[in-house]
């Protein structure tokens, strides 16, 4: 089975099949991430579409010394930020109170930490946490994807964990968390 980097090299040489395989591998992962970054599902879907289009257009600028996922998430982050700044007009009209991330979380006995993280953390801190723990990227890759220093990334992750832990301690009961999911 070819690695992401091998597929990217093949796509660079003009193989559309290789790029299709990369889209197949990353579409759900990117959407899960973007749902946590965007205000609604429409914005997340626009961002994922732009991410793959930009990746395909600028594939020649991909540096194989870095993971393909790092490069792709870097593009996705830029598109997510753009969507946050300029949300589509139709998306605003259709927007309801449902958090797009909450709508994708399966019912469970306890509160999903990512929903809490989205509410408690700044966008960049959330992204760093996601890339580190959901994507298991090394710290250097997280820093590169976010275009931040390694020191900032470490400090951000530490503060995010503390904040989440504190928020968890403050939560009165699990039942209330479940009620929230029921509403979602």
């Amino acid at each position: 089975m070819a690695t992401d980097e091998q597929l990217a090299e093949a796509a660079k040489c003009g193989s559309t099949t290789a790029f299709d395989e990369l889209v197949e591998r990353y579409q759900s992962r990117l959407l899960r991430f973007l749902l946590g970054r965007c205000n609604n599902r429409a914005d997340a879907e626009d961002a994922i579409q732009d991410t793959f289009v930009n990746a395909y257009r600028y594939l020649q600028s991909y540096d194989p010394r870095w993971r393909f996922s790092t490069w792709l998430y870097r593009i996705a982050l830029r598109n997510a930020s753009r969507q946050s700044l300029h949300p589509a007009a139709e998306a605003i009209e259709l927007e309801d109170d449902t958090d797009p991330l909450a709508a994708c979380i399966a019912l469970s006995e306890r509160q999903n930490l990512w929903l809490l993280a989205k509410r408690q953390l700044a966008a960049d801190a959330y992204s760093a946490l996601w890339l580190r723990y959901a994507e298991d990227l090394p710290l250097a890759d997280v820093a590169r994807a976010l275009d931040r220093s390694l020191a900032w990334t470490k400090v951000s992750l530490m503060r995010s964990r503390r904040r989440l832990a504190a928020a968890l301690r403050q939560q009165p009961t699990i039942a209330e968390g479940n009620e929230m999911y029921d509403k979602a």
Partner: protein, 149 residues
């Protein structure tokens, strides 16, 4: 926050990420595919910033142009200074003098004898206008004093 708590939190974050189910719908996938097919990859990647920083003929050209411009400005400034008023060009006639001894005691002595080393033409004219204004004011005060007495 203990190390144990930290580790638990990390594990929970990993597990909870798996709980998020976000499948790409066939419509979205079709949109993505159509968008990709509608664009062509850019073959020539622009040079990186590092390459730009390394310099070249452009850097030397801009440096030499800047140097020439600086020399020209220095030359022009020095030429204007040598043709302009010299520090000794303001005579005692241009400086306000006190006229009436009894009134002069009540007025504040103004440091009007100015060295003109740093003055330019317009500033000298402004100084003369100010001196004329002060002279008028002095005469007005003198007249008022005479009227009062």
């Amino acid at each position: 926050m203990t190390r144990h708590e930290d580790s638990d939190l990390e594990q929970r974050l990993r597990a909870d990420a798996q709980q998020i189910v976000a499948d790409v719908s066939p419509e979205l996938r079709a949109r993505i595919d159509a968008s990709i097919r509608s664009v062509a990859p850019i073959r020539s990647v622009p040079a990186s910033r590092d390459a730009d920083r390394s310099g070249g003929p452009g850097w030397w050209a801009s440096g030499l142009t800047g140097l020439a411009a600086a020399l020209l400005i220095i030359l022009l400034v020095n030429t204007n200074r040598s043709s302009g008023p010299t520090p000794d060009s303001v005579t005692e006639d241009n400086v306000a003098t006190t006229v009436t001894p009894e009134v002069s005691e009540s007025l504040v002595t103004l440091p009007l004898k100015v060295r003109t080393a740093d003055l330019t033409g317009p500033l000298e004219e402004e100084l003369l206008r100010l001196q004329a204004d002060i002279e008028k004011a002095r005469q007005t005060v003198e007249r008022d004093l005479h009227l009062t007495l």
